[in-house]
């Protein structure tokens, strides 16, 4: 276990020093992240233009959802995209063999080798949005903050598991470099509290693509509107998806016939 933590540190240091070589990328990422966040908040403003709440959420409360969404974007950009999206390339080039032969757990290696530190920018912007919004939300107490963090962690695990399962299909359909875009396209719905959608869409986003648990549930917990059912459901879902991801990985590796004969 300690070995894995130490390796995590090594990976972080190496990729950060590599990425920091590209100053222009940093500026570009910062501008993109700011534009996205401002756009989302402006969008909420337009949506609540007549003063009516959005699906029962006030503007301040809905901006907490935007904050959580931005943090998740940061997580996806910092951890998921630099690592998991390389899987299809690795299978195609045959370098997956080298990863599988290393003396540490291959799923760990594939998931943590690269880190895009600029993703942290999104996380910071998201945090700022939540902090600013929280000044007008009396229901935010230490308890709700802890619950919110727990659900945010669960949300990250859920997204990781889904993303991982999508990219593992590279073992069979090699040309699937874009497949995670399917998820990303619909993930944009996560900017809004789930109650803003008509009921049949809510069902879709709860049972088929669990976006409700990824952005709305942590936001609900943060602003004090949580229910024990949702919290338990989110944690159970995270666990189930992680187990499914692990199973899929083992299945993929065992049926992988390697690059050379």
């Amino acid at each position: 276990m300690r070995r894995y933590i130490r390796l995590l540190g090594v990976f972080l240091r190496t990729t950060i020093s590599l990425q920091m070589e590209y100053r222009a990328n940093f500026v570009i990422y910062l501008v993109s992240a700011l534009l996205q966040a401002c756009g989302a908040l402006f969008g909420l403003f337009i949506l609540s233009g007549d003063g009516e709440p959005i699906g029962g959420w006030s503007y301040r409360e809905a901006s907490v959802v935007v904050g959580i969404f931005t943090i998740m974007q940061g997580f996806i950009g910092a951890v998921l995209i630099p690592n998991l999206n390389k899987m299809s390339e690795m299978v195609r080039n045959g370098t997956m063999d080298f990863t599988l032969l290393k003396p540490i757990d291959a799923q760990f290696l594939v998931s943590t080798r690269n880190v895009e530190p600029f993703g942290m920018i999104d996380c910071i912007i998201g945090l700022i949005i939540i902090v600013v919004a929280s000044s007008g939300l009396p229901e935010m107490r230490p308890l709700t903050i802890v619950l919110g963090c727990v659900l945010l962690g669960a949300a990250m695990l859920i997204v990781y598991a889904i993303w991982f399962m999508l990219t593992t299909t590279a073992f069979w359909f090699v040309k699937v470099a874009n497949i995670t875009q399917l998820f990303e396209g619909f993930f944009h719905a996560g900017q809004f509290p789930i109650s803003a959608f008509p009921s049949w869409v809510r069902v879709l986003f709860t049972f088929i693509l669990p976006i409700a648990f990824i952005t709305t549930a942590p936001a609900e917990a943060l602003i004090g509107r949580f229910s024990i059912n949702t919290i338990v459901a989110a944690l159970v879902l995270a666990l189930l998806l992680l187990v499914a991801a692990r199973w899929l990985w083992n299945f993929a590796v065992s049926s992988y016939t390697s690059a050379s004969s």
């Binding site: 222009a24 990328n25 570009i28 501008v31 993109s32 534009l35 996205q36 756009g39 402006f42 969008g43 337009i46 949506l47 233009g49 007549d50 009516e52 959005i54 699906g55 040309k175 874009n178 497949i179 875009q181 399917l182 990303e184 396209g185 619909f186 944009h188 719905a189 809004f192 803003a196 959608f197 008509p198 869409v201």
Partner: protein, 267 residues
Amino acid sequence: MKALLNKARVLLITWFSYMSAYRAEIIIWILTGSVPLIMLAVWIGKAEAAGGSMSGFTAPDFAAYFLSAWLSLQFTIAWVAWELDYQIRQGELSPKLLRPLDVFWDHIAAHLAERIVRLPIIVAVMTCGLLLVPGTRLTPSPLHAVVFLLSITLAWFIRFQLSYIIGTITFWMDRATALDEFYHIIAIFLTGTFAPLDFYPAIVRNTLDWTPFPYIIYYPVRILNGALDWPTTIWVLGVQALWVAGFWVARTWLWQRGLRRYGAVGA
């Protein structure tokens, strides 16, 4: 004239075969442009909560707007900035410059071919969308649909040339494609993809009318929905034509200047 038609035919056929091989990827690309469909759901939710309609838009009105916006988005997509970026930086532009044809037309053909490959999916999604919200009327008459086709073609030329100009900046700057990324982010809000521009504060709308953004999605959609009277429609088409011409001049000028800088990279 015959030579011109022949070149067009060859280009289109080649690119069509190329794009058909990427059918699966294209389907995924189409689904990533789902923002109008998501916004459709959100705005209908808002209308239902407000008791049926919001600022003159009922649920079927929103459905008509956003389905048309999705359709317009599919028709006006352009990725030529990335193509040019790759070709210039990798030196792949050199062999293309030897052809008796401006590289511009090669990219146009590629985009046109890709659009044709997309057509079946577009039709399928539009059909599902129309069935989903009962009472949705996309367009009041076939004449509106025909004028829409003209408008959306002009809109595509605006977007395409904008992307082309960004790609041309690669002659001077390494990461010019970042500008295309910025465009994507702000375009969702400025072109009317997120919400009908009717919901924007008046001062924002008036400022936007001086930019090409509303003429890429919002105005073609309103033409299709029949929300504009004929004098306004003709005026919109005129403004679109002006933007196309303006970008045409800027593009050709930049391209000439850029080519002079271009010393074939490694070719």
